[in-house]
Amino acid sequence: MAVIEIKNVAKRFGDYQALHDINLTIDDQEFMVLLGASGCGKSTLLRIICGLETASEGEVWIGGKRVDHLPPKDRGISMVFQNYAVFPHLTVFENIGFGLRMQKLPNDQVKRRVERTAGLMHIDQLLKRYSGELSGGQRQRVAVARALAMEPDVILMDEPLSNLDALLRMEMRAELKGVLAESNTTAIYVTHDQVEAMSMADRISVMHEGKIVQAASPIEVYRDPAAEFVAGFIGNPPMNFLPATPAGAAGQWSVAGQTLHGPNAGKDLKFAIRPEDLTLADQGFQARAKVVEPLGAHLLVTCEVEGHQFRAILDSETQVRMGDTLTLAPQDGRGRWFDPATTLAVS
Amino acid sequence: MNPRLLPYVLILPVTLFLCLFFLYPFVLVAQQAFSDGSGFTLDNFRDVTSHWKFPISLKNTFLLALAVVPIQLALSLLMATMVNRMKRGRDLILYIWTIPLGISDLAAGIIWLAIFEQSGFLNSMMGGLGLIDSPTNFLSYQSPMMVFVAIMLAEVWRATAIMLVILVAGIGLIPKEYYEAGEVFGATAWQRFLKITLPMLRPSLQTALVLRVILAFEVFAVVQALGGTLFPVLMGETYEYQFTLLNAGAAAAIALIILGISIAFTLIIMRALRVPKGATI
């Protein structure tokens, strides 16, 4: 149980600035996901919190104690690695009990805690096996059990599900969420998979080029992206953008031939709308369908509006063919506005 | 301990050791070669190179390297590709083929002596087949060609394994997909070898050749065992000067000459087989 505070953390590798002035507070028992494309600095930040990497500047506090000068073992954390890092020379039992043995806990206590966490992760049948005799999913479970057995204040996870196949990943995602919720630990979870982030997180920190662009609840990140990057990153497919010019009266904007109501601003903006927030209507954007992809649950149509790529998610029954012109209207209240100069949201 | 210092602490012993027993003696050799006790001189080199045996031993060393290394290269490439497509018995065959790796040059010389000496197995075989009436002495000054061939065979026998190991390891690093792609695009087995294996094997070829060529110029004990003084080579001359003639300066001078040749060939091989940046697997 611990609050994590990251204060002005920066990291340079030679000339390359991997992290710029990161400030982030993670509440006690919160599930925080660091989300971003590869190379955005999310793993580096996690490794700095863990103590595997030293920050060039700034401080890391865990549970009211400054830890950035401490080795990983003294930070009250434990970690789940992307490639599981299950020790090949030890049995599953000894793997899960490894940290407890290092703490010199008596045998019976080790046994009890190993068996409990193994039961939690449904691997109590595998305790005598070696890592080479396990499947990827089982190794994953061992890695999580090993971290949980430490009963840490904070559990750190670096893309723990990315090596699993899609079905298994979905299953583990739900299971992990449940287990962590019960364990009362603070969790930081790094991933590039936004579905994982959305489904698991209490709060998501979207990272881009070494900065945290937005840290908010999943639904807020989705509905009210704080910056153009977030809008263009989150969602599958992400938001559509169209240029908007003031249309005379205050708060009136001209967007691809349509007049829409928006914020008060004296300069050109960008209008953004999610593909699923578009409906076929009598009046709206004139979109020429270029690619039609029936995805079962719905129909994804990639169109062109005044030369801009524009995607719409429509009902799967809709009859659309390549080359058709659709009239797409944005749902009320779902449009968002960004300032092209700062790339930040305007409201 | 400060983690920044740790790597230096770890490499310190090796560094000290190599400075003391590698760099420092190297300086001493150079000093010895370039001085006659009073100051800088090239006399040692002049003495050594003007000796009647020098051109012969230089020529012998080069001829031997020239004869041995290409054969070994071809042989080891052949063996490596053969092993690569082997399904059953791969481990056993590899074990047999790499046996000479652990055998010293002296032992190799003695092994081939058993074959080539006057009462040896070659004579016994030829006698048994009725090809000759009485055993001939192959390893005498009357048949310099035979001496050369015997030394050559012993060298090929002994030191192909080291190249084989490096090349087998190198071939193992080439992903199978490249061969499959080559096959899909219609390359024959030979073309696949030329266009995929050889270029991708370049780093391994480089290592193998450098190592082998350097060892070829250091050839000594095999020659001593088989040819003795019949076939003077540079390293043997160094030994001669040091022990028989007790001329340390001259020995050092030859040592430096061998070193110069080795470095020159290393640079040539590295340049000829260099891998463009970013073109590695």
Partner: protein
């Protein structure tokens, strides 16, 4: 049409079959190329001195221990054998003790001067190292370790260290750093993580490279001959007496030199390729 295709298929199958036979024949031939000379040495070793010097040679050993007994009773040879083992053992211990930490540092740390250090290691491979025995002979006299087991072991360690560093480097590199990091997050410091996780995993590989160092020393001829006079190693002893010693002594000696090699290659066969594969880079 149908007949034609079967014909073509048949021809194809025949060529493939023929190719298969050529391939198998080549493998067998190459195995024979390695084994037969060794077999000849074995015949000579297991024959009486008289048979060794007779003509024509038998092609089956007579299983007479005469030559080996002669070898064992030859003055000084058992001491030489003991010296060889001692030097090799010392070399083995020193090269791993000094080399392995550097191999670990190379595989785990980025530090200033790393490239320079690698260059120093690689440089030693491009040098005819035994030549350094010449100035070291002088240096050893000065510090009073001339003609000693320890002195020679120092030189052999210089020979073995580059291999020890590169091999251990590749061994450590083969262990994912995450395993070590995981240990750190589970309550280990660097030392305990090394003990509990890294060491058990690399130990077999370290043993293999230790054996490799042993054999490098065991086989080395030139430096041993230069640096020892009274305390000759087996190789130096045999080299010294090449001109004068009888054939059966040479062959028995050669055989004793070869035996550890066979065991060595067998013991490390699993690691040979992995070691060289990465040591290539």
């Amino acid at each position: 049409m149908t007949a034609e295709t079967t014909d073509v298929a048949e021809v194809g199958a025949n060529t493939r079959k023929a190719g298969q036979y050529v391939y198998i024949a080549a493998v067998v031939l190459l195995c024979a190329w390695v084994i037969v000379p060794l077999y000849f040495l074995l015949i000579n070793t297991l024959s009486s001195p008289e048979a060794v010097n007779s003509y024509p040679k038998p092609f089956i050993p007579e299983f007479d221990l005469g030559s080996l007994t002669f070898f064992a009773n030859f003055a000084g040879i058992l001491t030489a054998l003991k010296n060889s083992i001692l030097v090799a053992a010392l070399t083995m211990v020193m090269s791993i003790a000094i080399g392995a930490p550097a191999g670990y540092a190379l595989s785990r740390f980025e530090f200033r001067g790393k490239e320079l250090f690698r260059l120093l290691i690689l440089l030693t491979r491009a040098f005819p190292l035994p030549l350094l025995a010449l100035p070291l002979a002088v240096m050893f006299i000065r510090v009073g370790i001339d003609d000693t087991i320890f002195g020679l072991a120092l030189v052999h360690t210089t020979l073995a260290i580059p291999f020890a560093v590169l091999i251990t480097f590749s061994l450590f590199s083969g262990i994912p750093i995450e395993l070590e990091e995981a240990a750190w997050t589970l309550g280990c410091n660097r030392l305990t993580a090394f003990q509990k996780v890294i060491l058990p995993l690399v130990l077999p590989g370290i043993t293999a490279s230790a054996i490799f160092a042993f054999v490098i020393s065991w086989n080395e001829v030139f430096a041993a001959a230069v640096l020892t006079i009274e305390n000759r190693t087996l190789t130096a002893f045999l080299l010294q007496n090449l001109d004068t010693s009888p054939l059966h002594l040479k062959f028995a000696g050669g055989f004793i030199l070869v035996v550890p090699a066979l065991i060595f290659i067998f013991a490390v066969r699993k690691y040979l390729f992995a070691m060289w594969g990465i040591a290539n880079r």
